[in-house]
Symmetry: C2
């Protein structure tokens, strides 16, 4: 077996209590005792058993990352992976571990969200990639467990959220297009079950209004965030409105799909048609032409989410909503 606090106590010739206090930096320990204990612990390569500690402290220092059925979404990783990095890294700094689970997992076990988390004694949860219509989200929000939701503006006593200011983002895109001289600007959105889609649509409409441009249903198309979906969107939009000179997409992947389709159709980008994406995924820089897009600060989203759960857990701050400002990245498609 691995060595316990008892071994250290014995070796150092003090009581278990003293070892515990010495190692946890309590002030009421003699300086020489502390040093002695530290030394012995070092020599024995003692590592406190996190499980035992969790039991008595009633905290596991573990955050759950709840992702909706991982399998279904084939392209979510473009966005989510970096967010996960940010989350993981910041959580590690804060002394927390990240444990992965999906709604299906919990559902399979026929237990409620809260039961699932309580059983594991998670200290908090971060939710990502969940649709508006997922029944779990309500449980999350109502739960007494600290949580942060990404890309869904849900808020309650113990639940905050982090998302990009999507309205502002698409406005940025529209304004940019307007500045480039475009007056007939289309919009290809993602599916409506995503909260971000609603905001992006609003950003598009408000952007048009702000520029003094008419808002017209025939300029909008609802796709599914996929590559071919973006291509189809472009094609249908262009068919309905041949006078279109620019299209804003609600995701880079769709924009790249649009880019491909445009090439197949012999439509020159950006000469005949300008395109703006959304996200700034790794691929955006390398499309041909390189994609002009609205950058989401994904790493930061993850970090902020991490900070917020932890702050909520420690009651250092009430959960709130964070809206991260995206930024325009001008490349070759406009």
């Amino acid at each position: 077996m691995s060595i316990t606090i008892r071994d250290v106590a014995k070796a150092a010739g003090v009581s278990i209590t003293t070892v515990s206090r010495a190692l946890n930096g309590y002030s009421d320990v003699g300086e020489k005792t502390r040093r002695k204990v530290a030394l012995v612990a070092q020599e024995l390569n003692y590592r406190p058993n996190a499980v035992a500690r969790s039991l008595v402290m009633n905290e596991t220092k573990t955050i759950g990352l709840l992702v909706s059925e991982l399998t279904r979404d084939r392209v979510g990783h473009f966005f989510m992976f970096r967010v996960m990095h940010g989350m993981h890294d910041r959580l590690a700094e804060l002394g927390y571990d990240l444990i992965l689970f999906s709604t299906t997992t919990a559902r399979q076990r026929l237990v409620s969200y809260l039961d699932f988390c309580m059983q594991r004694r998670l200290d908090g949860v971060i939710v990502m990639g969940i649709r508006l219509d997922d029944p779990y989200i309500q449980e999350v929000v109502d739960s007494p467990l600290s949580s942060v939701v990404i890309d869904l503006p849900l808020q309650s006593e113990r639940c905050g959220y982090v998302m990009t200011d999507n309205v502002y983002g698409v406005k940025l895109a529209v304004r940019h297009l307007f500045d480039r001289g475009h007056r007939t600007i289309g919009f290809v959105n993602g599916y409506s079950q995503a909260a971000v889609s609603r905001d992006r649509l609003r950003g598009y409409e408000e952007g048009l209004v702000q520029m003094g441009l008419p808002v017209d249903r025939t300029l909008m198309h609802e796709a599914d965030f996929s590559l071919p979906g973006g291509g189809d969107g472009l094609q249908q939009l262009l068919q309905a409105r041949p006078d279109l000179t620019a299209i804003a997409f609600a995701s880079d992947l769709m924009a790249i799909g649009g880019l491909q389709r445009a090439r197949e159709l012999g439509i020159a980008v950006p000469e005949r048609l300008a395109i703006v994406g959304f996200d700034d995924i790794e691929l955006a820089e390398f499309s041909t032409p390189p994609l002009t897009t609205i950058r989401q600060k994904r790493l930061e989203m993850g970090m902020r989410a991490a900070e917020m759960v932890v702050a909520t857990i420690k009651n250092q701050a009430a959960p709130h909503g964070i809206l991260l400002a995206p930024e325009l990245v001008v490349r070759g498609t406009t």
Copy 2:
């Protein structure tokens, strides 16, 4: 506080022990007692505290997923995300949780790999995306902790591995190109710190030999698995060997980069130059033309890795090496 086994015992009018046994399906419990206990537990919505159980059982039912510095690699998610799905899903079925951590995290804390895992009482570890030259891998292999490595043929008493048969895979690509009439076939490899690169190179060379084709250094290029890297590879190869009629790439992303570059250079694919990728990432299907490639069964890789750690933990099977057969997916670039 949440309700404990004691509450159930009290409510059911039996001892704690009986509750434990009844709920854990031991046979030595009276049928009516069992039912009574189950009912009460149900009514009270009792969930056994996993932490307490872990402490006494000395197992956490938790597997660590060790990924090398998440941040550095910008394109790893194309491959890794699906593998993670497979891993997560199978582990969930087997009753294990997956906890994410990176080499940097552990390193920051200045503890060795083993200490890191022991402190958390992980039951096992799966390692992915680690380079050959990472100092951690030796620790993993030597460790008494059950582990499985993905894409690195490391094996020991408690360590097995799962990877695609990369040699066979590239041979498949070469043979396919040969069958299509190509006799001068180039190869763009990934960086040499990846074990898969070595295998894929060998597959390429052996494939040529098998087809009776000469092996020539000027036909090979070492890139970095990135999109632009693939483009550069194609360009340089073509410059050195204008007689090239086909190129096999060690990854889809590089192949797609090559595809783009070919288009920029006005090289018709597949007419003038045939291209084969490797991986079958989601994007492959949607490149123009759609990419012919060697499919790695990523979901299965994850699942097999999951099964292997668990089997090793339970001592149901000795850790071993699994080589998954890839398959040729013919699309439009050949």
